[in-house]
Amino acid sequence: MSAAEDVVTEAPAVEAVPKRAMTLGTGTSLLVLAVLLIVPMFVKNFIIFQMTMLLIYGLAVLALNILTGGSGQFSLGQSAFYAVGAYTSAVLMEYFNVNYALTIPVSAAVCFAFGYLFGKPALRLSGVYLALATFALATAMPQLLKLNFLEHWTGGVQGLVVTKPDAPFGLPMSQDTWLYYFSLAVVLAIYIFSVNLLRSRSGRAFMAIRDNEIAASSMGVNVALYKTLAFGVSAGITGVAGSLGAIAVQFVAPDSYTITLAISLFLGMVVGGVGWLPGSFVGAAFIIFVPNMAEGISKGLSGAVFGVLLFAVIYLVPHGARQIAIMGQQLVGRLRKN
């Protein structure tokens, strides 16, 4: 029709998600929060632990979502940032006796700097090239952690044991329950921060770059700054997830942070819906529970079962959980009209 649509030669790799569609409505959010607050009072410790892991992985997926869904950059290297966060907390807690809660902002800062610096050379790369670069980072990380001269700090292949914190002020709850609420508070704070970030001027800049980099730069968006910033923020949040993960699992070792973790986080993002922040937690549930389910269905073929389930999900909802949310919303809208 108009000439403009024919002249855009290349479609962006990541679909445009309007910033309003990136979050949940207030009512739904409060409902979800209430469930998250109440459920742990009625379930066993093991389930609480799994819910904690869900929050932590969800946070890591959210970080990737800001990078990919927000600024259109693709990363297979999130496991590296996760590892740096985990080791930062572990080393601070075990060698310097720093309080676990205080290690989290340190992790965030260290990972932000790391991500920002990594984002600098990555600026020249996009698409598959960026995927390869981040992939290289992810494969290198476990090897770097095993290096001899770092062994004094990292514990080499053996890794480090992390002490699980008790509930403070003599609160009558188990360590697992306390850690759950602690993680929930951190995740909630970061979630709110992220939502606001994407609604802010910086968020608009991210999305402009995602949708059309050249057009964004011609409108005066500092593409280099915002792309590296997106990497930094994403890495920082992933680092926090890594810290919480280290505390929850009470152990860090190089082989926990391989490329498999990065791929899982990527799958979590796709299943949850690229660019839809609440979907990160749905995606996290998928990557935590579906492999176990697959194992339950068939031990020998667990990989195949997982693959088939993954195919089933992407056939049914190619846009991830976001699609279900949109369908639900339309349904509610229609019911209200009638």
Binding site: A13, F135, K146, A215, M269, L301, A304, V305
Partner: protein
């Protein structure tokens, strides 16, 4: 100096493996515009089929040809059944599909043929090549096959009608349809060819790395790296990239202190990325000018 020459030679020998795989990667990238993460597993599965055929008493070359045909048809079938329905889905959803396919093939191969390492025969013999201890006749044969394959592909894409149609379908699908090309089948054909090339790569690699379900993991990564280094649009670049990566990797392992086997891969990748930072479209890739 002798150490250096030897390491370069050894690098070229392993480079042939990567070059072969990189060719398959470029093939499918041309057809579908994505990197197929399951490509290595498809090649592994093909290799197992050929092994099974030989176990049943079929001679090497007959098994080779049957495997190629089966892989070609299998590649097309995978596209038609699994990926055609995803044609309109977002790119990242397709990537998730590749990962799912990876898991399915890997786990099925493990169940059918188990995870023990198997010997795989070579048609070229494994004596030293021209008296060199570093390159065996098998490795020389592998380099020869890679070069032949490259020439064949070059001829196919430059001088045949169907090769021209495939390139057109990959570069501007809408225009390709408007001149009467069935783009959907061109994609399927690309999958078939990539699968067959992968099968050749697998059958040549198996005598070196031994046959088992995880044999292609590392190789595919190097293959990707080689393809990206050479420029994803150029089969020639992919082959050169393959040899370069092989040499890079060997020299890094020899001359950079503290590298050893574990860090070879990251270092090779880091080098490639430095090249890409300078030449973002790869060494032989086509610079595509973007317009707003």
């Amino acid at each position: 100096m002798e150490l250096f020459t030897n390491q370069v030679l050894a690098g070229i020998a392993t480079g042939a493996i990567y070059a072969c795989m990189a060719l398959a990667v470029v093939m499918i990238y041309q057809a579908i515009d994505h990197l197929n993460f399951a490509q290595g597993e498809m090649a592994m599965f093909s290799t197992f089929i050929s092994w099974q055929l030989m176990q049943w008493g079929i001679p090497y070359w007959a098994a080779f040809v049957i495997t190629l045909a089966l892989s070609f048809v299998g590649g097309i079938a995978i596209e038609r059944i699994l990926f055609k329905p995803l044609a309109k889905a977002p790119v990242l959803t397709n990537v998730a599909g590749f990962i799912a396919l990876f898991a399915i093939i890997n786990s099925s191969a493990g169940l059918i043929w188990d995870f023990t390492i198997k010997q795989y025969p070579t048609p070229f013999g494994s004596s030293p090549f021209l008296g060199s201890q570093l390159i065996s006749t098998h490795q020389a044969g592998m380099i020869g096959v890679t070069v032949l394959l490259l020439l064949g592909l070059y001829f196919f894409f430059q001088y045949t009608k169907i090769g021209l149609a495939m390139r057109a379908a990959a570069s501007v699908p809408e225009s390709a349809r408007l001149v009467g090309i069935n783009t959907s089948w061109m994609i399927a054909l690309g999958w078939g060819m990539a699968s067959a090339i992968g099968a050749i790569a697998g059958m040549l690699i198996a005598p070196v790395v031994f046959l088992e379900p995880n044999m292609m993991g590392g190789v595919l990564i190097y293959g990707f790296a080689a393809a990206v280094l050479g420029g994803l649009t150029s089969p020639f670049g992919a082959v050169v990239g393959g040899f370069l990566v092989g040499v890079f990797e060997n020299l890094a392992g020899t001359y950079i202190p503290g590298v050893g086997n574990e860090l070879k891969l990251p270092i090779a990748l880091a080098l490639i990325i430095s090249v890409l930072v300078v030449k973002p479209a790869g060494l032989f890739g086509r610079q595509i000018v973007k317009r707003v």
